[in-house]
Point group: C2
Chain length 769, copies 2
């Protein structure tokens, strides 16, 4: 590559940009977040209040109780989110929610308010909702039926709701412990004093994990002592003379005086007032996954007094601080909103689990232990190892370190690294051995101040334990002896399993090398190349193998779209998986007949609608063209198209489940211009960045330079809007031409990288509107 | 009266009896108790293990789950007992039960065992039962399906069950927290350690009291650590795709690993073993109505180690000691069993409520307080004021004192004396102001070491609080202003209410006199004569009065049998109530036209089947003839007949609900030969005793003589079996002829009273087979 002069236009634009920087830095980045993005189209994000990686999230619940006002009902179909922008029947605010997942869980402890006589049936007290406003750390809505303005904000482990009764008069606060998104059931609650209740509700059965159950403890404090309050409980139905006698049977029974524990499937607590017009009643809620006591301690520690405005301010400040790690300039309003909302969604999960005293439920046993670092939970690792953790390592390395430390603690506690961990329970959702990848990737990025010896031991356990004792790799024996996993049951996802083991073992090989374990490194590297077993020359794709060693016949490569069951592949078809050998793209290309055939086949994935922008195995596909510089314009064209098509500043602006940030991380990387298409490898595929300038503030504990600036300048007369392609970039005085991959260290240490964009890419016939 | 010589035959029999005394005193009285008496025919007593006035009772539960083996199902009809001798499908042992009541309550925390694979559905693990044995403090049964011998015994606050798995192999212990007699629902439970669980279940809705709810806390310890254990919970049903996905929906879900709290409507805990043939597994259970901690403390204090035999021995010893207060000689085996079983049933309720540390749930609030005396609960006072408390005062005055002290504490705590108190909650079941009567009666009997000033204050509250604030006398205003309660609603039991107020106010008048409150005494005495308002000359009966002061017309004096609704009268007809003026029988007789007319009318009650032997207002009727010496033979004949007809040594040997001992107390008094037909008056009606000799050991703290001996000797040649009538009795050297009533002090101080029996009574034509 040869150094060339900076184009004049670019030099001039620097002056303009400088003043922009100042203007933008006084503007709050939180105003660029639109929490409604992803709240439709199965994005399954929530618009409610949460702080970065907070245990508490509080969000409107509107997925039950009204066929008229709701388009979707949580019980009438597969449904995994407490809120959707498509619905308009508000039942309350749920406390602690999952963002961007595909299975129903949590979304419970639902607090609401009503005007008029007490009615504890949420299908009655629920209300049409309007005038929704969502902002990081804050959400508000108008409850039309009751003329109540409802606002919420949050701290790390607590929330506060403000219900303003505009008309005054008979007013109620309702804490519903029966309704909820989780498919588990049963709660217990008691009055601690007139205005404080504590209790717990069982959560769990996430995805295919009936045994991953855990209690959510809560402490709820009401700002005004209620003249009347009590419990309710739906009573089991009776028959005959008993039914005649027990007026409450089959109905919601009201308990106006009882104050000790009440337990059951469908219970709640109410507080009734006579309010003045415009009076506000606040509900402060602390949660814990250890105990009621801790829920209360969290509440009294994080909200020692009632101050909604102060909590909101602190929540906004914490978001502002977190978002300001990346400052963007230029781009459209929508692009900035998409970007910062994606960054916002990146910082929802994993979330902290420990209480203010450091206590948390231990992996597997849920017994209480105390942590010194942040203890994280909600590890959707099959989703997140690919891009979420690499991105966290870049932007928030201290968080990432604590996440790795947490994973090692889980190994110590439960005997295994996590796969899909949820509040101290392993759900065993999805497949593979993803922790290996996350830990190696983190280490490779220079975040190494964790117990590497323990990490290696933990990684080896999943990678070497034979037989059924291997909880992470249930088909270990086949895999280790054959180098692949044969299809032993019709829908056993065998190919998906093996592909995950290959990338895991490739990472383990890297880590073993780093640890000086050469022999191990060789073993795992050998294993990682086992994907070749699946390559079927006939179709040019990966194809399931039967126990007798023969390929599955007949074989339908396109079968498996839209969660259709498909032999050998999980939530996808052969096309979605056939390029998923991120650690050996060149080897795969060779297998497929060389660059041309590989590129054509890869291009056909996009042309023939075999690309699923919302399923992880293929989301790095657009970047695979960068291995072949002549074809890299395809990456640029496709990422630009995908960003435009699937990432939008509206509720359906995420292509599918956000997958605890994986979709958002894809958007962030793609908008920044680089993508870690092989986690654990320190090589990125490049694409054209979205913004004129991005300043990433790096943590100097881990990175040499305090900032990485990514600049994008048109080299010709075209407007930014049409800026899709680049084939030159510059670092320091060095101009790179026809280079479309970059090494992590080089990028992180660049200080500044400048992309020079132009109207057309490698093929002049391509234009984009 | 003139002293006569003892008949020779009687003198001779003394020698015989003396040796009998010795023989009997080495024989255990507990062997004379048949706990199955009253377990059919709606006696609603239980055959399980309990100690005298113990908080814990543990009894087989067999009233649900099998239409084949059970004649009665708790949910198919009105049903108020966990066990009936008519049923044969055993579901487990329920911990804490009510004895002799007419509404369903408690009868929960049901522990059982099964052999074979774990199945937590009690309709499956329940078993045919056989070889039942019941003995005070002990019960055993064979579970035919599983070849398990199940035995139970109890301490005051704990129980221990022994399950012997005769065949060994797969064996399970099952703790069912869903099933139960109570109409309340919802429980919570958690593992404290591998072999101990603690939790609580809500009880309540007794009779017409939906708000009288309270938690029963428990701690359960298993003798052998189980290789496998966990929870179960009936999951709510789902529909559609959710139902397909969640294999547990609508079923009993098993939780084999989760150990923190679980809550719900229908939950349980299981422990599974591989037992050796003949191996016994023990389940120790502590209960408390204060807290889980106290349940555990009760368990560890009363059963510091596992020793079934020692617990059983102690339980038997405590019964032996309690029963030995009365020693009988002679009579048939059945008569002795009937007598001692009645005494046994007398000592079930009220039962203690406080934990070993003295803590108990306070009246109304259920907040925790600490007591120094025994704190009692289960005050079915409308039933018990008439004869249970007078009998307790005679036989167990210290218990009675603590019961009165408890009532006064309830007043201090809840603001009112109890009416029908249940575990710290007032159920307001039945009518009247019965505490006044109990307290005055106790005081009149010389048990006076309670706070009489407070007692008087408490009595006055019910007797003088106007309007709706009067919780005990809801129709106080009418009563106070008119002297009677008019019929304001069709079935408002107005006459029954007023009759209860009269006897209460008569007692209050007595107590006021004793306290030196002459004016008050006059006021209440005047009120007590208000019954005359109801006397209808036309029918010669008490008749409801309408608000305009006119009698209810039409009037059906026989309407109201078998719980048929009846204007003015509660659970009875006018005949059952018209003689219920116990404090003024002579006044009533005068009103009715004099002795002859009174006696004829009273006799017609028996002749025309208007007498209900199981309903309290008329159960003293047989003794009312004793007010008229010439007619007293009727008392003797009727009591003899009633005892023979309704009190038998078999499950249906109590005429109806035992009413927490009221039926049993009637039998005891009647068999002893005297009856307190007017509680609060120290006068007894006499009848012919059942036994040759009875020795009552009196508490010399309250009674001058350490014993009262009641001797019964035939004066002619007839056998004991035909001994029905007497018209002479002797105290010391004094022979009483044609005397059929006796004063309390005279009797208690007698040392010995001897009845001389003969074949015929006042009318020679009467014979009894």
């Amino acid at each position: 590559m040869k150094l060339t002069k900076l184009p004049l236009v670019a030099a001039l634009s620097l002056l303009v940009l400088s003043s922009n920087v100042w203007a933008q830095s006084t503007k709050r980045l939180i105003d660029e977040v639109n929490p409604f993005i992803g709240t439709s189209n199965f994005g399954t994000t929530n618009p409610g209040a949460v702080v970065p990686n907070g245990l508490m999230s509080i969000t409107p619940f509107n997925v039950s109780g009204s066929p008229e006002l709701n388009k979707f009902d949580k019980d009438k179909r597969w449904w995994s989110t407490p809120y959707t922008a498509d619905n308009k029947f508000f039942s309350g605010f749920s406390h602690v929610n999952l963002s961007g997942v595909g299975c129903p869980e949590l979304g419970s402890i639902i607090v609401s308010a009503s005007a008029g006589d007490l009615d504890v049936d949420y299908t009655h007290y629920g209300s049409a909702m309007s005038e929704e406003k969502a902002h990081p750390g804050y959400y508000s809505v108008q409850l039309d039926k009751h003329k109540i303005k409802a606002e919420v904000t949050a701290t790390q482990r607590t929330a506060v709701s403000a219900f303003t009764f505009e008309r005054g008069g008979k007013s109620n606060i309702l804490v519903n412990l029966g309704l909820g998104l989780t498919n588990e059931s049963g709660a217990t609650v008691r009055f601690l004093n007139d205005s404080t209740i504590v209790g717990s509700k069982l959560m769990g059965t996430f995805c295919y994990a009936p045994q991953a159950v855990f209690n959510q403890y809560f402490a709820i404090r009401i700002s005004r002592r209620a003249p009347a309050s009590g419990y309710w409980k739906k009573q089991p139905p009776m028959e005959g003379v008993e039914a005649e006698w027990d007026k409450d049977q089959g109905k919601y029974k009201i308990y106006p005086t009882y104050r000790k524990e009440i337990s059951g499937n469908d219970i709640g607590v109410w507080f009734s007032y006579d309010t003045k017009p415009g009076e506000t009643i606040y509900v402060q809620t602390g949660v814990s996954f250890v105990s009621e006591e801790n829920a209360l301690l969290n509440l009294t520690t994080e909200q020692p007094k009632l101050d909604f405005a102060a909590v909101r301010r602190a929540a906004e400040d914490s978001w502002e601080k977190a978002l300001r790690v990346v400052e963007v300039e230029g781009g459209t309003t929508d692009q900035r909103k998409i970007f910062y909302t994606a960054l916002y969604h990146l910082l929802i999960h994993p979330n902290i689990l420990q209480d203010v005293n450091g206590q948390y439920p231990m992996m597997g046993s849920l017994q209480t232990a105390t942590t010194k670092h942040d203890r994280y939970t909600v590890y959707s690792l099959w989703d997140t190892y690919r891009n979420v953790h690499p991105l966290l390592s870049i932007l928030y390395p201290r968080k990432q370190l604590a996440m790795v430390e947490t994973m090692l603690d889980m190994y110590k506690e439960g005997g295994w690294l996590p796969k899909w961990e949820l509040y101290g329970q392993e759900t065993f959702t999805m497949e593979g051995d993803p922790s290996i990848i996350v830990i190696n990737d983190t280490w490779q990025r220079g975040i190494r101040d964790f117990d590497t010896k323990l990490a290696y031991e933990a990684m080896l356990k999943g990678a070497t334990t034979p037989g059924k004792d291997n909880k992470l790799r249930p088909d270990f024996d086949d895999y280790a002896s054959r180098g692949y996993v044969p299809l032993r049951e019709k829908f056993d996802n065998s190919v998906s399993h093996a592909l995950e083991y290959y990338i895991a073992d490739w990472n383990l090989s890297q880590f073993a090398s780093a640890m000086g374990k050469k022999k191990d490194a060789q073993l795992f590297a050998r294993r990682a190349s086992g994907y070749k077993h699946y390559y079927d020359k006939e179709t040019g794709l990966l194809r399931p193998i039967l126990p007798d060693g023969k390929f599955l016949t007949p074989f339908h490569p396109t079968l498996g779209r839209d969660f259709e069951p498909n032999p050998g592949f999980h939530e996808g078809n052969s096309w979605n998986y056939s390029f998923y050998v991120p650690h050996d793209i060149r080897g795969l290309a060779k297998l497929m007949g060389g660059e041309r055939k590989f590129v054509d086949k890869l291009q056909s994935v996009f042309d023939k609608e075999n690309y699923d922008p919302a399923n992880e195995p293929d989301i790095a596909y657009p970047y695979l063209f960068t291995y072949f510089p002549k074809e890299a314009w395809r990456t640029q064209r496709i990422t630009s198209k995908l960003l435009g098509l699937y990432y939008r500043n509206d509720p359906s602006g995420i292509p599918g489940n956000d997958d605890t940030g994986a979709m958002s991380a894809w958007a962030i990387f793609s908008m920044l211009g680089f993508y870690p298409d092989c986690p654990g490898s320190m090589s990125y595929g490049l694409t054209t960045p979205t913004f004129d300038k991005v300043t990433i503030h790096l943590d100097t504990k881990y990175y040499k330079n305090p900032t990485l600036v990514i600049e994008t300048r048109p080299v010709d007369e075209h407007t930014n809007r049409q800026r899709i392609y680049f084939d030159e970039f510059q670092i320091g005085n060095k101009l790179y031409k026809n280079t479309y991959r970059i090494n992590h260290d080089e990028l992180m240490n660049a200080g500044k990288i400048t992309f020079f964009t132009k109207l057309v890419g490698g093929t002049p016939e391509i234009t984009v509107d």
